[in-house]
């Protein structure tokens, strides 16, 4: 991996990502009239300064080390907590979540819950088909009883089945 100022480029990614979001936020804020944008833009400018400091603190320079000591002494090694998690598992965990959210929106709650649970228990949990079917059915029944019967929530039918 390419190194910039004594640090792997990947370690700048979180701060750079946040900086990009902040700059877009600022650009949008400046489309509003001065009174409306004053507070959000003020906060965003402060964010730019803070993110600048964060970026400098990530460098392998003396200033970077001093900034880390003063302002972030708790972060000894950037990105360290995730070292124990295989990248494929991380991506897969996020993708399963996104897929479930998409299913809920598209086919509705009563269809998405059993499909997701069956698939997750089968392919991630590596359970037998029978256990997966029982688990999915039980959880769907629980969701229906709790939300539709007890709390009287009209469960979303899904975009494909008439949901708005």
């Amino acid at each position: 991996m390419r190194r910039v100022l004594g640090t792997s480029f990947a370690l700048y990614a979180p701060a750079l990502g946040l900086l990009l979001v902040t700059l877009i936020y600022l650009a949008v804020a400046y489309r509003y009239k001065p009174d409306l944008r004053a507070f959000p833009a003020g906060v965003a400018w402060i964010m730019v300064v803070l993110l600048g400091l964060d970026l400098v603190s990530r460098t392998g320079t003396r200033i970077g080390a001093a900034l880390t000591r003063w302002l972030n002494p708790g972060s000894v090694h950037l990105g360290a907590p995730a070292e124990t998690q295989p990248r494929a598992r991380q991506v897969s965990a996020v993708l399963w979540l996104v897929a479930f959210a998409a299913l809920l929106v598209l086919v509705g709650i009563l269809a998405a819950v059993p499909i997701y649970l069956f698939a997750a228990l089968r392919w991630r949990g590596r359970r037998s088909y029978r256990a997966c079917a029982l688990g999915a059915a039980g959880a769907t029944l629980f969701v229906w009883l709790l939300f539709a019967v007890v709390l009287r929530v009209a469960l979303y039918p899904g975009l494909l089945f008439g949901g708005a």
Binding site: P14, L18, T22, Y25, V28, A29, Y32, D35, L36, F39, P40, V43, A44, I46, M47, L50, L51, L53, D54, S57, W70, L71, N72, P73, G74, S75, L78, G79, A80, P81, A82, T84, Q85, R89, Q90, S92, A93, W96, L97, V98, F100, A101, L104, V105, I109, V113, Y116, L117, A120, L121, R124, G125, R126, G135, V143, F147, L151, V153, L155, G163
Partner: protein
């Protein structure tokens, strides 16, 4: 005064309220026992379910959860060396060695009774302080409220595992998000991009469910395996001897409870700080400091008393100023808002019955949880051996459907997913999440009180330094920001040249 205490107590003594208190307590013990879940996740998941309940009943349920979390956490900390919640990590230091010596029952008995006593002392302190808090809050005008919100953000950021800079950044991010929607202060919409759903701003409930429950489940899924990796032998005897041990060390209980009470009232200072501070002061005060870490019963009693005492006093900043002292209180604040209670002076005036009812619920829950916890030690320990790949999908289902049920808008599901991924990225890249939550909750108050101050002074900024209260808060902000630098300088001065 006494009639309010009584009214709150009698309100709780109804069949419905007691039933929900019991349910909350059971959920609290279970969630407390599972490492990584804890009070914030439990409350975030329950939040939408409380929607159809009366406010008082919802508070009984929440109090039940919050009062019981520490007991669940201490059981797994002692038996499996896997603290259910971060504060229980201090209990592991002597609790687990005791379990290894075959004295798990002694440790659990001591933890349960220290929990109860700590909870009672915390309750007494909050009952004593609440009437004073009402007078204190009335001294606060818009400039002081504005400064208090800044102070809350700075203290929370500085207390975020010694990551002031990252805490401030995530606080800024939370503020930026809180400005989405129609601004009733100025009149005009911001960052809605023509979406009707965003007109009311980001709904706090789906956001909190995402940041806590969903983010933790992604993290658990990414790690894989079982929740607890240390599987010890679950042998539990001599629990009553443990209870007696607590009464033999009442000084330790009192010291721990006092520390917990003081720490709990400071925004951002968590139960972890209270637990470890109580533990280290007990070690320093002991005649046999060498025995700590090897199975000294005082090493269990001290943190447990502090953790539960903290819960009571943590209500003070949350209710009086609308400034939560930690993640659990931030989610609890969401529950208050969901039920039409606006923390601050108005809540202290209009919802006194609910407040006292909540205090009683917290106490009753911690007492009940201690007894129930003792009865269900073994099954609670076994919960932590559930496979993450089974637990995570089940929790995610409840989280997403719960998020939808808040107001029946499917967009809540998308908000929950987005905040869940954001929360996971923050765990992954070591950014504190608590400041985002506090900023999300306080964003509108910050802007409103700033605008009101400016309107009061015709744009003169000196309004922020006119009154003594403001000056005290400004000095506290400056001190909090300077603390990390002072720490470095003190350490440098102490180290040999």
């Amino acid at each position: 005064m006494l009639d309010l205490w009584l009214s709150g107590f009698l309100g709780l003594m109804q069949v419905r309220e007691l039933a929900f208190l019991g349910i909350g307590m059971a959920i609290g013990v279970v969630f407390g026992a599972i490492p990584g879940l804890g009070g914030a996740t439990a409350l975030a998941l329950l939040m939408p379910l409380t929607y159809g309940l009366e406010p008082f009943t919802a508070l009984a349920l929440s109090g039940g959860v919050m009062g019981a979390i520490p007991m669940g956490g201490s059981i797994t900390a002692i038996l499996l060396n896997a603290p259910g919640a971060a504060p229980n990590a201090a209990t592991c230091l002597d609790g687990y060695p005791l379990a290894q010596q075959g004295k798990a029952g002694l440790a659990i008995g001591a933890a349960a009774s220290a929990n109860s006593l700590g909870g009672i002392i915390g309750t007494i302190s909050v009952l004593a302080v609440l009437p004073v808090a009402k007078q204190l809050v009335l001294l606060f005008g818009p400039p002081e409220f504005f400064l208090m919100t800044i102070f809350a953000l700075v203290t929370v950021a500085s207390a975020s595992r010694r990551q002031l800079l990252r805490g401030l950044i995530t606080g800024g991010l939370g503020l930026m998000i809180s400005f989405i929607g129609y601004s009733d202060v100025i009149g005009g919409e911001r960052f809605t991009f023509g979406t009707d759903y965003l007109w009311d701003g980001i709904n706090i409930v789906p956001a909190l469910i995402g940041l806590f429950a969903v983010a933790e489940m992604i993290n658990l899924s990414a790690k894989g395996g079982t929740v607890s990796r240390a599987v010890g032998t679950v042998v539990v005897t001599r629990m009553w001897s443990g209870v007696l041990e607590t009464f033999k060390h009442l000084g330790t209980v009192l010291r721990g409870s006092l520390i917990g009470t003081l720490i709990g009232a400071i925004p951002g200072e968590s139960g972890t700080v209270a637990a470890f501070l109580s533990y280290s002061l007990t070690v320093q005060a002991s005649k046999d400091p060498g025995s700590f870490g090897k199975g000294n019963i005082e090493g269990v009693i001290a943190p447990e008393a502090a953790i539960n005492a903290k819960d009571g006093s943590a209500l003070i900043p949350t209710i009086a100023f609308g400034i939560p002292s930690g993640a659990e209180m931030a989610v609890f604040l969401g529950i208050l808002i969901l039920h039409g209670m606006q923390p601050g002076p108005l809540m202290l005036m209009n919802n006194q019955r609910e407040i006292y009812g909540l205090v009683w619920a917290l106490t009753a829950s911690c007492l009940l949880a201690s007894s129930v916890g003792l009865l269900f030690v073994r099954p609670l320990a076994l919960i932590t051996l559930i496979d993450a790949d089974i637990l995570a999908p089940l929790v995610l289902c409840v989280a997403f459907v719960g998020s939808f049920s808040v107001n029946g808008e499917i967009e809540n599901v998308i908000v929950t997913a987005v905040f869940g991924i954001l929360g996971y990225l923050m765990i992954r890249f070591d950014y504190p999440r608590l400041t985002v939550v506090i900023a999300l909750v306080l964003g509108n108050t910050t802007e409103r009180s700033f605008r009101q101050s400016m309107a009061m002074s015709d744009g003169d900024w000196s309004i922020f330094v006119h009154r003594g209260t403001s000056l005290v808060i400004i000095a506290s902000i400056a001190l909090t920001l300077a603390l990390p630098l002072l720490r470095v300088l003190v350490r440098r001065a102490r180290s040999p040249a």
